[in-house]
Protein backbone atom coordinates (compact mmCIF):
# COMPACT_ATOMS: atom_id res chain seq x y z
CA UNK A 1 0.00 0.00 0.00
CA UNK A 2 2.83 2.36 0.87
CA UNK A 3 4.52 1.36 -2.39
CA UNK A 4 1.42 2.29 -4.37
CA UNK A 5 1.26 5.74 -2.76
CA UNK A 6 4.97 6.31 -3.45
CA UNK A 7 4.51 5.19 -7.06
CA UNK A 8 1.54 7.48 -7.63
CA UNK A 9 3.30 10.50 -6.14
CA UNK A 10 6.48 9.87 -8.13
CA UNK A 11 4.49 9.30 -11.32
CA UNK A 12 2.63 12.58 -11.06
CA UNK A 13 5.83 14.40 -10.15
CA UNK A 14 7.73 13.03 -13.13
CA UNK A 15 4.80 13.79 -15.43
CA UNK A 16 4.67 17.42 -14.31
CA UNK A 17 8.42 17.80 -14.82
CA UNK A 18 8.01 16.29 -18.29
CA UNK A 19 5.17 18.71 -19.06
CA UNK A 20 7.37 21.59 -18.00
CA UNK A 21 10.16 20.38 -20.31
CA UNK A 22 7.74 19.97 -23.25
CA UNK A 23 6.37 23.45 -22.58
CA UNK A 24 9.88 24.88 -22.47
CA UNK A 25 10.58 23.42 -25.91
CA UNK A 26 7.20 24.13 -27.52
CA UNK A 27 6.31 27.61 -26.28
CA UNK A 28 7.02 30.38 -28.82
CA UNK A 29 8.14 33.17 -26.50
CA UNK A 30 10.50 33.78 -23.59
CA UNK A 31 7.75 35.09 -21.32
CA UNK A 32 5.50 32.11 -22.05
CA UNK A 33 8.42 29.77 -21.29
CA UNK A 34 8.99 31.47 -17.94
CA UNK A 35 5.26 31.20 -17.22
CA UNK A 36 5.22 27.46 -17.97
CA UNK A 37 8.35 26.36 -16.16
CA UNK A 38 7.91 28.25 -12.92
CA UNK A 39 4.62 26.52 -12.12
CA UNK A 40 4.74 23.00 -13.51
CA UNK A 41 8.30 22.16 -12.51
CA UNK A 42 7.80 23.41 -8.96
CA UNK A 43 4.71 21.25 -8.54
CA UNK A 44 6.46 18.21 -10.07
CA UNK A 45 9.55 18.40 -7.90
CA UNK A 46 7.35 19.00 -4.87
CA UNK A 47 5.43 15.78 -5.57
CA UNK A 48 8.66 13.77 -5.99
CA UNK A 49 9.92 15.12 -2.66
CA UNK A 50 6.60 14.16 -1.05
CA UNK A 51 7.17 10.60 -2.27
CA UNK A 52 10.52 10.57 -0.44
CA UNK A 53 8.81 11.64 2.77
CA UNK A 54 6.30 8.79 2.39
CA UNK A 55 9.10 6.30 1.73
CA UNK A 56 11.43 7.18 4.62
CA UNK A 57 8.66 8.36 7.00
CA UNK A 58 10.88 9.69 9.77
CA UNK A 59 11.20 13.18 11.10
CA UNK A 60 14.61 13.94 9.56
CA UNK A 61 13.73 13.38 5.92
CA UNK A 62 10.23 14.82 6.33
CA UNK A 63 11.44 18.10 7.78
CA UNK A 64 14.22 18.33 5.21
CA UNK A 65 11.87 17.68 2.29
CA UNK A 66 9.40 20.23 3.60
CA UNK A 67 12.21 22.76 3.89
CA UNK A 68 13.14 22.13 0.25
CA UNK A 69 9.50 22.40 -0.88
CA UNK A 70 9.01 25.62 1.09
CA UNK A 71 12.21 27.06 -0.37
CA UNK A 72 11.17 26.17 -3.92
CA UNK A 73 7.70 27.64 -3.42
CA UNK A 74 9.20 30.84 -2.06
CA UNK A 75 11.96 31.32 -4.61
CA UNK A 76 10.32 30.20 -7.87
CA UNK A 77 8.06 33.30 -8.23
CA UNK A 78 10.89 35.63 -7.19
CA UNK A 79 13.35 34.24 -9.72
CA UNK A 80 10.68 34.15 -12.44
CA UNK A 81 9.85 37.80 -11.81
CA UNK A 82 13.53 38.79 -11.83
CA UNK A 83 14.32 37.03 -15.08
CA UNK A 84 11.13 38.32 -16.70
CA UNK A 85 11.97 41.88 -15.69
CA UNK A 86 15.55 41.55 -16.97
CA UNK A 87 14.41 40.07 -20.26
CA UNK A 88 11.89 42.90 -20.68
CA UNK A 89 14.64 45.45 -20.18
CA UNK A 90 17.09 43.91 -22.60
CA UNK A 91 14.39 43.98 -25.24
CA UNK A 92 13.34 40.38 -25.78
CA UNK A 93 10.62 40.45 -28.40
CA UNK A 94 7.08 39.31 -27.71
CA UNK A 95 5.37 36.62 -29.77
CA UNK A 96 3.77 37.98 -32.92
CA UNK A 97 0.33 36.70 -31.83
CA UNK A 98 0.44 38.36 -28.39
CA UNK A 99 -2.69 40.43 -27.96
CA UNK A 100 -1.60 42.93 -25.33
CA UNK A 101 1.50 44.41 -23.70
CA UNK A 102 0.42 46.29 -20.60
CA UNK A 103 3.91 47.62 -19.91
CA UNK A 104 4.23 49.31 -23.28
CA UNK A 105 5.62 52.78 -22.79
CA UNK A 106 5.63 52.63 -18.99
CA UNK A 107 9.09 51.28 -18.22
CA UNK A 108 11.82 53.83 -18.76
CA UNK A 109 14.95 52.39 -20.29
CA UNK A 110 17.54 54.57 -18.61
CA UNK A 111 16.17 55.00 -15.13
CA UNK A 112 14.37 51.61 -14.78
CA UNK A 113 11.39 53.35 -13.20
CA UNK A 114 7.85 52.04 -13.72
CA UNK A 115 5.38 54.82 -14.46
CA UNK A 116 1.63 54.41 -14.14
CA UNK A 117 0.75 56.48 -17.18
CA UNK A 118 2.16 56.51 -20.68
CA UNK A 119 4.06 59.76 -21.11
CA UNK A 120 5.20 61.47 -24.26
CA UNK A 121 8.87 60.53 -24.34
CA UNK A 122 8.88 57.63 -26.77
CA UNK A 123 12.64 57.71 -27.33
CA UNK A 124 13.21 56.66 -23.72
CA UNK A 125 10.96 53.60 -23.76
CA UNK A 126 12.06 50.01 -24.12
CA UNK A 127 11.73 48.87 -27.70
CA UNK A 128 9.17 46.08 -27.88
CA UNK A 129 8.00 45.59 -31.37
CA UNK A 130 6.72 42.13 -32.06
CA UNK A 131 8.84 39.37 -33.55
CA UNK A 132 9.58 39.95 -37.19
CA UNK A 133 8.30 36.97 -39.13
Amino acid sequence: MIDIIIGILATFGALFVLFAAIGLVRMPDTYLRISVTTKAATLGVGLVLMSTTVYFSNADVTSQAFVIILFLFLTAPVSAHLIGRASYFIGVKLWDKSVMDELRGKYQKNTHILKSVVDDTPEDNVDHTKMDK
Binding site: V17, A21, A41, V45, S51, S87, V92
Partner: protein
Protein backbone atom coordinates in the same frame (compact mmCIF):
# COMPACT_ATOMS: atom_id res chain seq x y z
CA UNK B 1 7.07 -5.16 -10.67
CA UNK B 2 8.46 -3.87 -7.42
CA UNK B 3 8.68 -0.24 -6.48
CA UNK B 4 12.40 -0.05 -7.14
CA UNK B 5 12.06 -1.48 -10.64
CA UNK B 6 9.25 0.96 -11.33
CA UNK B 7 11.34 3.91 -10.15
CA UNK B 8 14.39 2.70 -12.00
CA UNK B 9 12.83 1.87 -15.36
CA UNK B 10 9.88 4.29 -15.60
CA UNK B 11 10.40 7.37 -13.44
CA UNK B 12 14.11 7.94 -14.01
CA UNK B 13 13.87 7.67 -17.85
CA UNK B 14 10.99 10.18 -17.84
CA UNK B 15 13.10 12.62 -15.82
CA UNK B 16 16.09 12.04 -18.09
CA UNK B 17 14.01 12.66 -21.23
CA UNK B 18 12.77 15.93 -19.74
CA UNK B 19 16.36 16.87 -18.86
CA UNK B 20 17.42 16.22 -22.45
CA UNK B 21 14.57 18.40 -23.75
CA UNK B 22 15.59 21.21 -21.38
CA UNK B 23 19.22 20.83 -22.47
CA UNK B 24 18.13 21.18 -26.09
CA UNK B 25 16.44 24.49 -25.23
CA UNK B 26 19.55 25.50 -23.26
CA UNK B 27 21.77 24.97 -26.31
CA UNK B 28 19.37 26.38 -28.90
CA UNK B 29 17.67 29.20 -26.97
CA UNK B 30 17.33 32.37 -29.07
CA UNK B 31 18.00 34.88 -26.31
CA UNK B 32 20.19 34.62 -23.22
CA UNK B 33 17.11 34.82 -20.97
CA UNK B 34 15.94 31.50 -22.43
CA UNK B 35 19.24 29.95 -21.46
CA UNK B 36 18.96 31.22 -17.88
CA UNK B 37 15.41 29.85 -17.59
CA UNK B 38 16.56 26.51 -19.00
CA UNK B 39 19.48 26.38 -16.54
CA UNK B 40 17.14 27.03 -13.61
CA UNK B 41 14.76 24.31 -14.76
CA UNK B 42 17.65 21.89 -15.34
CA UNK B 43 18.83 22.27 -11.74
CA UNK B 44 15.24 21.86 -10.52
CA UNK B 45 14.97 18.61 -12.50
CA UNK B 46 18.23 17.52 -10.87
CA UNK B 47 16.57 17.90 -7.46
CA UNK B 48 13.88 15.45 -8.58
CA UNK B 49 16.47 12.97 -9.87
CA UNK B 50 18.35 13.14 -6.56
CA UNK B 51 15.13 12.51 -4.63
CA UNK B 52 14.36 9.41 -6.73
CA UNK B 53 17.94 8.17 -6.26
CA UNK B 54 17.65 8.61 -2.51
CA UNK B 55 14.64 6.27 -2.56
CA UNK B 56 16.33 3.69 -4.80
CA UNK B 57 19.56 3.45 -2.81
CA UNK B 58 17.86 4.02 0.58
CA UNK B 59 20.21 6.88 1.40
CA UNK B 60 18.45 9.75 3.13
CA UNK B 61 21.72 11.71 3.18
CA UNK B 62 21.28 12.59 -0.48
CA UNK B 63 18.52 15.04 0.46
CA UNK B 64 21.22 17.42 1.75
CA UNK B 65 22.51 17.68 -1.80
CA UNK B 66 19.01 18.48 -3.04
CA UNK B 67 18.77 21.36 -0.56
CA UNK B 68 22.13 22.74 -1.67
CA UNK B 69 21.06 22.48 -5.32
CA UNK B 70 17.86 24.42 -4.57
CA UNK B 71 19.95 27.18 -3.00
CA UNK B 72 22.36 27.26 -5.94
CA UNK B 73 19.51 27.42 -8.48
CA UNK B 74 17.96 30.48 -6.85
CA UNK B 75 21.32 32.19 -6.36
CA UNK B 76 22.48 31.63 -9.94
CA UNK B 77 19.20 32.86 -11.40
CA UNK B 78 19.26 36.02 -9.29
CA UNK B 79 22.91 36.76 -10.08
CA UNK B 80 22.60 36.12 -13.82
CA UNK B 81 19.44 38.21 -14.19
CA UNK B 82 21.05 41.02 -12.17
CA UNK B 83 24.07 41.17 -14.45
CA UNK B 84 21.85 40.78 -17.51
CA UNK B 85 19.88 43.83 -16.46
CA UNK B 86 22.88 45.97 -15.54
CA UNK B 87 25.05 45.41 -18.57
CA UNK B 88 25.33 47.98 -21.33
CA UNK B 89 23.43 47.43 -24.53
CA UNK B 90 25.64 47.32 -27.58
Amino acid sequence: MTLFEYLHFIILPVLVVSAVLILWRFIKGPSIADKIVALDLLITTGIGVIAVYSIIYNQSTLMDTALILALIAFLSTVALSYYLEKRKRK
